[in-house]
Amino acid sequence: MAYLVALVIAIGFGLPIAVISAAMAQARTASTALEGMARQPEAAGRIQTAMIIALALIESLVIYALLIALVLLFIGIPSSRTLIQKVVK
């Protein structure tokens, strides 16, 4: 029971922290990209391509956090005793 409570608290606080930091970083990326596009409209295509790459790279960090959360929820971590027993066998 305590394991489930700890799991919910960990995922419930850990994943939103990842999302908040990624959102702030992506907001800064998009705003500077738009400023650059407004200053030089002829470079808009290249800036847009670079912006999409940067957004996807930042988003992938959130996806890593989501992956760990899913692994914890559905595959779970064994206790260290069972892990050692499995390794020793």
Binding site: T49, I52, I53, A56, L57, E59, S60, I63, Y64, L66
Partner: protein
């Protein structure tokens, strides 16, 4: 999270395929057959002024070619267009297949994306060795001041190995995540409003079309950036330019 069935589940029911084969594999074969059929149909009886399917094919090929040349900053990038374009079209087709009712995205299985990432990794090393030679390829791991080599070589190796890992996990996480959101929306509707089945997952499926495009484009652009960085090692640029 057990396996869900698709239209191809009969291959398992009639024991044509063994049980341990993930359902993503025959769906990938189906994607390959569909893409090959479109390719063959659009290149039969080539005409000087393209119409119809050949026109669509030519527009996509020239769009992919201009994208690759934009990354490489030179017309020499066109020799990598077949690889990058194939990655893009294949990954896009696999991502979109999951939105067809009754099928799954093969990229929602980690094995598919790891296979794609390993292929990309091997091709990057192959093109690096082919274009700049084995000696300069090994030399670039040592970094700029040569006496810093014992520090730079492990850092470069780990950075190089982190690229296929991040490519595969990014693609898998995005596609699996959006599939899971669609499934959970359907489950919520059936569990709470079982009399009035409103398809609330439909806007999410439209968004999933968009992210399928974006993820295929990001994979292809990143692979082309890795090849561009590995191939143009002549001018002594530092390794702070392109991130992994």
């Amino acid at each position: 999270m057990h396996e869900q069935g698709t239209w191809l589940h009969f291959l398992y029911a009639y024991h044509i395929l063994p049980e341990w084969l993930p359902e993503a594999v025959p769906v990938t074969w189906l994607v390959i057959i569909v893409l090959s059929a479109v390719a063959i149909l659009s290149t039969r009886r080539l005409e000087r002024h393209p119409r119809g399917l050949q026109n669509v094919a030519e527009m996509s090929v020239s769009a992919l070619d201009s994208l690759v040349r934009l990354i490489f900053d030179s017309p020499l990038g066109s020799k990598f267009t077949p690889l990058i374009g194939s990655f893009f079209i294949f990954i896009l087709a696999m991502n979109l297949f999951g939105l067809i009712p009754g099928f799954m995205s093969p990229t929602a299985n980690i094995n598919t994306t790891v296979a794609l990432a390993i292929t990309a990794f091997v091709m990057v090393q192959y093109y690096a060795v082919k274009e700049i030679g084995v000696r300069r390829y090994l030399r670039h791991f040592a970094g700029e001041p040569l006496w810093l080599a014992p520090l730079m070589v492990p850092i470069h190796l780990i950075g190089e190995l982190a690229r296929p890992i991040s490519l595969s996990v990014r693609l898998f996480g995005n596609i699996f995540g959006e599939d899971m959101v669609i499934a959970i929306l359907m489950i919520i509707v059936t569990m709470t409003m079982a009399n009035v089945l409103v398809p609330v997952q439909f806007p999410m499926m439209l968004f999933a079309i968009f992210t399928s495009f974006i993820q295929a484009m990001v994979f292809s652009i990143l692979v082309s950036v890795y090849i561009a960085v590995a191939v143009t090692e002549e001018h002594a640029e530092g390794h702070g330019g392109h991130g992994d």
